[in-house]
């Protein structure tokens, strides 16, 4: 966020209002697109709406002083994963699916579950008294992030590479198909 603040300072707009005025619409957009993701019949549309959601989330990362992560989000999530999804959608035939019997029961069950968890979470969030002081704590720099990634958290870093390798090999094996 500090970068954003600097940007806004340079432009000369009052910080608070701008931040506030832009954050809430972005949040609403995220939610709207997320709803579209889950509600749309066309899977292709879902994937596209997912891309929008992910980009919106990247913007939110900007507000939270996580510029590096925002970039990574766009690069990897939108650039690779959504692409992957679209490949797979193209490879499998059923794009459009009609209504099925018993849809209502499932929707009701799902709605009930999601509303329940939402209710619980919101209540917990609302009841808790959050610290306000750390708002002005200094954000970590990219250099610092790299440094901690390579020194303190090098183990998870290596493990991640192993996981990626395993995922690749596994995907190849699964996707290879039966020997004819």
């Amino acid at each position: 966020m500090s970068g954003l603040i600097q940007l806004l300072n340079s432009v000369g707009l009052p910080q608070e209002i701008v931040i506030k005025a832009t954050f809430y619409p972005i949040a609403c957009l995220i939610l709207v697109f997320a709803l579209l993701v889950v509600l749309s019949r066309n899977i292709f549309h879902s994937a596209l709406y997912l891309a929008f959601v992910l980009m919106g989330v990247a913007c939110v990362y900007l507000y939270l002083d996580a510029e590096f992560l925002a970039i990574v989000q766009v690069l990897i999530y939108v650039g690779a994963i959504v692409t992957l999804f679209i490949f797979t959608i193209m490879l499998t035939a059923d794009i459009n699916t009609g209504p099925i019997r018993g849809m209502i029961r499932r929707v009701l069950g799902g709605a009930f579950a999601s509303l329940a968890i939402l209710f619980i979470l919101i209540r917990v969030i609302a009841r808790t008294t959050w610290q306000a002081a750390a708002q002005n704590a200094p954000a970590i720099s990219l250099e610092g992030l790299g440094r901690s990634l390579m020194s303190k958290y090098v183990l998870p870093f290596e493990v991640i590479s192993l996981i990626s390798l395993a995922a690749i090999v596994g995907a190849i094996v699964i996707g290879k198909g039966q020997k004819r």
Binding site: G110, I120, R123, V124
Partner: protein, 638 residues
């Protein structure tokens, strides 16, 4: 000298065993076996008499039942009465068995007949030798059994079978009285031995009751009124049986019993007088029936009943020797009478005297002996019957019983009348039907002759010619009972002779002279009396009505009870069990199985609800898992 009297019943018993077991193989020699056995017994009886005269008396054989300190011993009584009876039974028994060889010649069950005869001899001899009531009762039953077996010897004839049962049951009634009498006696006197009876002089009513009850046994066995009904029917048996058992010996057992217990009776005059009166009623009653009967054997049967009554009169008025004397003479001439009748029947195969007549021409020996016996029984001097009957008649007068004297005289008259009616109708006159009589074989006629000799001469033993030897003999060992008159009463002798001759004369009148007219005229004039007599005073019918029908009805009732209620109860139980088991089956089927089925159905019901959870969709499972998480969070955080 050794006491051998106890062996007397043994030999006939051995003959019985041999004949019963091996009779089929022995055939004719079974008869010889029986005769040999009774001849041995005869010899032993003579021997016992000699022993007795030389001083040996009763003796004990062995201990039998022991009750603590007291015991019942089996012993043998040897006294004048027993010695006399032993000789009578063995002589007559042997002669009749010889006769039976001829009479039963063609019978298929020849050897069994002799077996039963030997058994009877054994039982009768044992009865005579018993020295206490208990042993006597054993042999008493024995002779009753033999009587039954021999009466229904030809059991294929229903009349014979019924007669056997009638005899047994009727004598049973008497035997019950005898048994109770023995108990009462034991209760009152604490003894069952005959030798103790003389010493009882108490006038306790129990003794009178005991004496009367014991006399009941005599009434049964000796066919006195009212238990006389079996004897005429017992004539269904073979004639030798009638001669031996139902004339000479078994029926005399009752008289023997009274004589044996004479001490008891004499000490209790009411009992003794009762004996006399029963005897009198019987004697007169039976004699009247005999006058109109048409069956040769039944006339003789009623004659036996009448003469036994005579003996009871003799004993009853206190004439111990008179009664026993008549017992002896009667045995001989009655056996002779029956054997003659048997000879006639054997020859012409009918028993109805209306079909007979003029037999004397062809059967001289039988006829002659028949006449001799009839003279004896009618009391014509100098035959044996005259002496003994005269004794009795004079005793009644002497001991102050004029009524009994009158009855005795009347009975003598009737006796002479019916006996000679029999003689004239059977032996003399013209034959009424087609008959072909022939004389019987020697094996039958020789015993007739021997018995005839006895019938003629045995009476002299008690006559004044031999100084009343019999009376003296019979009283050996007894301390003064009735002081009997030793002087012959010539008036009474004359009266009885006149009575006998007039009886014979009447019979001659009726049946030889005015052959057809007189009997029929009397019959139609006294029709009521005639019917009463020829139906035996309807005694059998009365008994049937009074006793037999109620008992039969009672037994039918009992049978119905048994079938209906007891069997019904058993069947009812079975039905109840069946019903119960059906109920159980219903319960088992509907309730128990129902419970099991219900359990299964409930499980099915639940499962049909719960299985819908297994949709196969992963999202359903996820939903449920997630809801679980929600619930936990809800509980924890809110």
């Amino acid at each position: 000298m050794v006491n051998l009297a106890h062996l007397i019943p043994l030999f006939p018993f051995l003959a019985f065993t041999a004949n019963i077991l091996f009779g089929r193989k022995l055939k004719l020699s079974s008869a010889l076996l029986s005769i040999a056995a009774s001849t041995i017994s005869l010899g032993l009886s003579i021997y016992t008499l000699i022993l007795f005269l030389s001083g040996h008396g009763s003796y004990t054989l062995c201990k039998w039942l022991v009750f603590g300190k007291a015991s019942l011993d089996i012993g043998v009584i040897v006294d004048p009465l027993t010695c006399m009876m032993l000789l009578v039974v063995t002589i007559i028994g042997t002669l009749i068995q010889i006769y039976s060889i001829g009479y039963m010649k063609n019978d298929p069950r020849f050897s069994r007949f002799f077996a039963y005869m030997s058994l009877f001899m054994s039982s009768m001899l044992g009865l005579l030798l018993a020295d206490n009531f208990i042993v006597l009762l054993i042999f008493w039953e024995g002779v009753g059994l033999c009587s039954y077996l021999l009466i229904s010897f030809w059991f294929e004839r229903p009349a014979a079978a019924k007669a056997g049962m009638k005899a047994f049951i009727t004598t049973r009634i008497g035997d019950t009285g005898l048994l109770i009498g023995v108990f009462v006696l034991f209760f009152a006197a604490h003894t069952v031995y005959f030798r103790d009876l003389a010493g009882l002089s108490s006038t306790e009513p129990l003794f009178i009751a005991a004496a009367l009850l014991i006399f009941c046994g005599a009434i049964g066995k000796s066919a006195q009124f009212p238990l006389h009904v079996w004897l005429p029917d017992a004539m269904e048996g073979p004639t030798p049986v009638s001669a031996l058992i139902h004339a000479a010996t078994m029926v005399a057992a009752g008289v023997y019993l009274v004589a044996r217990c004479f001490g008891l009776f004499f000490a209790h005059q009411p009992a003794l007088i009762w004996v006399a009166y029963i005897g009198a009623i019987t004697a007169f009653f039976a004699a009247t029936i005999a006058t109109v009967n048409n069956d040769i054997k039944r006339i003789l049967a009623y004659s036996t009943i009448s003469q036994l009554g005579f003996m009871m009169i003799g004993l009853g008025v206190g004439g111990y020797s008179a009664g026993t004397f008549h017992l002896m003479t009667h045995a001989f001439f009655k056996a002779l009478l029956f054997l003659c009748a048997g000879s006639v029947i054997h020859s012409i195969h009918t028993q109805d005297i209306r079909e007979m007549g003029g037999i004397f021409q062809k059967m001289k020996i039988t006829g002659a002996t028949f006449v001799i016996a009839s003279l004896a029984i009618s009391g014509v001097p100098p035959f044996s019957g005259f002496w003994s009957k005269d004794e009795i008649i004079s005793e009644t007068l002497h001991n102050g019983h004029p009524f009994l004297f009158a009855i005795a005289i009347a009975t003598s008259l009737l006796t002479a009348f019916y006996m000679f009616r029999l003689i004239f109708l059977v032996l003399f006159g013209k034959s009424r039907t087609e008959l072909h009589p022939h004389e019987s074989p020697k094996v039958m006629t020789i015993p007739l002759g021997i018995l005839a000799l006895f019938a003629i001469f045995i009476g002299f033993l008690g006559s004044p010619f031999m100084h009343n030897a019999f009376q003296a003999f019979i009283h050996i060992g007894q301390a003064g009972e009735a002081a009997e008159n030793a002087n012959p009463n010539y008036l009474v002798m004359a009266i009885s002779t006149v009575v006998a001759l007039s009886g014979i004369g009447m019979a001659y009148l009726f049946y030889i002279l005015n052959n057809k007219i007189l009997p029929q005229a009397i019959r139609s004039k006294f029709a009521f009396l005639y019917n009463l007599l020829s139906n035996k005073y309807y005694v059998d019918e009365i008994y049937d009505f009074m006793f037999i029908k109620p008992v039969a009805g009672l037994s039918r009732l009992a049978a119905r009870f048994d079938l209906g209620i007891i069997d019904g109860a058993v069947n009812g139980c079975a039905k109840a069990v069946v019903v119960l088991s059906e109920v159980k089956a219903w319960i088992d089927r509907y309730i128990v199985d129902g419970a099991v089925n219900m359990t299964a159905k409930t499980v099915g019901l639940f499962s049909s609800v719960l299985r819908r959870m297994q949709t196969g969709y992963i999202q359903t499972y996820l939903l449920i898992a997630f809801l679980g998480l929600v619930v936990i969070l809800f509980v924890k955080l809110i």
